[in-house]
Symmetry: C2
DNA sequence: GTCATGTGCTTCGAACTCGAAGCATCTGCC
DNA sequence: GGCAGATGCTTCGAGTTCGAAGCACATGAC
C-alpha cells in the first residue's frame, strides 16, 4: 500500500482484523436470525432494545445507538408492525412523537431466537478466547465505544442527537 | 431480556460493545471515504486489496474475505471500472475468469484518501488505547478472525470457498 | 472425443438503505 | 396570543445489496 501515514503497521493490522472479524460475525448472525426468526440484525436489535425497556420507547429513543437513519427506522418499524411484533401509537405527552410498544408475539420471538443467537456469538466469537481474553475484549470495546459516543459529530448530523 | 441462555453477562456486554463500536466506526469511515474520494468502504477495501497485490486478481480472489455476494462484487467492479479505477480483462489461464487490475488513477486515489482514512481510525479507535491495548486488540482480533475463517460454513455457501 | 458435473462471472428481480424534502407539532421570544 | 425556528416522524426517489437463475468455460470419467 502507499504509506503507513503515521499509523504503525501493528495498528493497521488490528484495525483490519477488527473490521473483517466483525463483518464475518455479523454475516453469520444475520443468517441465524433470518433462518430462525426471519429477522434482520437491525430488527433483532430493535426488538431486544424494546424488550429490555418494557416497551414504550419513542422512535428516536429506539434509533439512538442503532445509528440508522430516521427513514430506515420508519421502514423497519413498518415491517415489524405489519408482522405484529410491535405496535405504534401516539404519545400522550407529545403529539409528534410515536410510542413504540413490543407485543407478546414480539417478545416471544426474541425469546425464541435468542438462544441460537447467543450460540452463534459464542461459537464464533468466544470460542477461541480465554476468560481473561473476554475480560480484556469487553474492557477495550467498552472504552472504545464510550470514546466514540462522546465524540462531536465530525461535520455531520444537523439533527441527530439531542444535546441534553 | 428473556434469559442469558448460557452466555455470561460479561460476554454479552463485550459482544454488544464490539458490535456497536464497529458499527459507529464503520459509519464514520464511510463518511470520510465518501467525502474525500467518493468511495464506499467496500470499494476502498477492493482497491486497497488490489494495490497490495500488484493488481491482477480474479474476481473470486478479490471477493475472498470481503464476504460479499458475487453479484455485489460484479456491481461494484462495474462502478469502479466506469470510474476508471480498475480494468477488467480475460485471464490467459482460464477463459472463465476475469482478471482485475488497478489503474494508476485507482492507485492514486487510494493514496490520496488513505491519510484521512488512517486519521479517522486513529482518532476514533486508537485514541483511547495505550500501546499495550493496541497489541492486545490486534492479538485478540487476529485470533478471532482466524477462528472464523477456518470455520465450516454453517449450512450455507453451496459454492463459496474453494476447499484447497 | 464426449458427456456430466463443477466453477467463474453476470443478469435479473426484490428488498433494503439513506438523504432530502415535507408535514405536523412544540418551544421560546416578543 | 402569535410567530419563527426546532423537533419527531414519514414519504419519496435513487442507489445498493443479496440470492436465484443463467451462460460460458474447465475438468474428469468413460
Amino acid at each position: 500500500m502507499a504509506e503507513p501515514a503515521s499509523l504503525a503497521p501493528k495498528q493497521l493490522g488490528a484495525y483490519f482484523a477488527l473490521m473483517e472479524a466483525v463483518s464475518l460475525l455479523q454475516h453469520e448472525v444475520e443468517k441465524q436470525l433470518r433462518a430462525e426468526g426471519d429477522l434482520s440484525w437491525i430488527q433483532f436489535q430493535l426488538l431486544a432494545r424494546l424488550a429490555d425497556s418494557d416497551g414504550r420507547l419513542t422512535m428516536t429513543e429506539l434509533a439512538d445507538g442503532v445509528v440508522y437513519s430516521r427513514s430506515g427506522l420508519t421502514y423497519q418499524a413498518g415491517l415489524l408492525e405489519k408482522a405484529g411484533l410491535i405496535t405504534r401509537g401516539p404519545s400522550p405527552d407529545d403529539e409528534r412523537a410515536t410510542l413504540v410498544t413490543i407485543t407478546e408475539a414480539g417478545a416471544a420471538l426474541v425469546a425464541r431466537v435468542l438462544p441460537g443467537h447467543v450460540e452463534v456469538a459464542r461459537s464464533l466469537l468466544f470460542d477461541p478466547l480465554s476468560d481473561t481474553d473476554v475480560d480484556r475484549l469487553g474492557d477495550l470495546m467498552t472504552r472504545i465505544r464510550g470514546h466514540m459516543r462522546a465524540l462531536p459529530p465530525r461535520s455531520a448530523a444537523p439533527r441527530k442527537r439531542r444535546t441534553p
